[in-house]
Amino acid sequence: MGGTLPLALSLLAVAALIGLARWLGFVKQGRLADFREAEELADSLPGGFRAVATVLDQSGAGALLRDAMGRIAVVAPKGAHFIIRLVAPGWRAQIIGADVIQLSGPDSACRLTIGPAASDWLDAVLRQCESPA
């Protein structure tokens, strides 16, 4: 009994706090302000990342960036923030409709609405998916 009641009360408190966070509306998705923000985030990749081309999701929910070597960085949404990943062999990508690109890697996935450039970006992404490790 000694540890059961405090544990039960703690579980109750955890559930109540999660419920309160939801009720207060802490479920907002992050939005990139502009290209520069996406480029700054991508620069945190090991060795840095200097983008020569960037495309933002139409609602700012992510971005794709390409550097001079053809590497592709993905700025993918994660809750109110973003994670940054370099596309590598093993990633998968496809076009949905005409202007949505869907990408999935070992620990992240995202769907970005980037307009008519989607097919060009898909080609660039697929080159990295298939390039030797």
Binding site: F26, G47, K78, H81
Partner: protein, 299 residues
């Protein structure tokens, strides 16, 4: 050995203060201050750490007791030994914390405390489940060997842990100057949780910031350098178990894949170290960004 553990008594206050901070964030339109899934992971880690701590408590206490048996002195329970023990524990905690960032073995256990991209009071509860596996308690053995009572050491460690709660917030800007000079505060600890290169591996203090000032690891928060929180390679999901074990798994993968003469390096070198130089440590990141800043300034 039965000791005083302040943490169970502090939990109701933790809950009320998190509620107050959420209400403040909502009232001031800081919609990114909390994220419900992130909060769930933080609270799950906190709850799990209490269970893990309870499971390991007997072994930790027995180890401290064994060290105390061969202590140089017997300090006992005199009133003055309490503040002395608290300061000594805080110093031990500083080095434990510093090792937690500079040695990958300890980082694997500590990283979950940093894996939130938010900085709020629930982040304070992101405590490790694997501290016992990492043998982090060895940093407190010198206190028992010097002669402090094991129960007193554990009580001081608990008080130190409770102190850390309130500094995990953006709701408090700066405290009075005299307080900022001596004590760890929200502004000092925000720097510690930053992923900005300039801020990496700074402000390891727990209660007294003087240790960072003394050992050269202090950095003040700079208004022109907005903080990004989390870890350099941010987690890709809100999975609780991924948060707990991801670095242990990554470390095991690296050790298995590394050539024999480099295997140990993946355990005891700093996070980000690699034998082929393909990754970046915090020192390398800081140097790269310093060079970039220099290049931008030079004509």
């Amino acid at each position: 050995m039965m000791g005083f553990d302040p943490i169970p008594y502090a939990i109701p206050a933790f809950v009320l203060l998190i509620v107050a901070e959420m209400v403040w964030a909502r009232a001031t339109a800081r919609h990114g201050a909390y994220e419900v899934r992130d909060t769930a992971v933080s609270l799950g880690l906190g709850l799990g750490s209490v269970v893990a701590g309870a499971l390991a408590a007997g072994a930790v206490a027995a180890t401290l007791d064994a060290a105390h048996q061969v202590a140089l002195w017997r300090i006992g329970w005199q009133w003055w030994s309490w503040p002395l023990c608290f300061v000594a524990d805080d110093l031990a905690y500083y080095w434990l914390h510093r090792a937690g960032h500079r040695v990958r073995w300890f980082w694997a256990s500590h990283v979950n405390h940093h894996s939130s991209q938010h900085y709020n009071l629930s982040t304070a509860l992101r405590q490790t489940w694997t501290g016992f596996i990492a043998v982090s308690f060895v940093f407190r053995l010198p206190l028992a060997l010097v002669g402090f009572e094991p129960a007193m050491i554990l009580a001081c460690a608990g008080i130190n842990l409770v102190y850390q709660f309130w500094i995990h917030t953006e709701a408090i800007g700066r405290m009075p100057r005299w307080f900022e000079a001596v004590m760890n505060t929200p502004t000092h600890h925000r720097v510690h949780h930053a992923t900005n290169s300039a801020y990496l591996d700074r402000n390891f203090a727990v209660t007294f910031i003087v240790w960072d000032r003394l050992f050269g690891t202090f950095m003040a928060e700079e208004p022109e350098r907005p903080i990004r929180y989390g870890i350099v390679h941010q987690l890709g999901s809100f999975n609780l178990f991924q948060a707990v074990f991801h670095e242990w798994r990554a470390m095991a993968r690296d050790v298995i894949a590394a050539p024999w003469r480099h295997k140990l390096g993946y355990l005891w070198r700093e996070p980000g170290w690699s034998h082929d130089g393909s990754r970046e440590t915090s020192d390398m990141l800081r140097q790269r960004h310093a060079r970039k800043a220099d290049n931008q300034q030079s004509p």
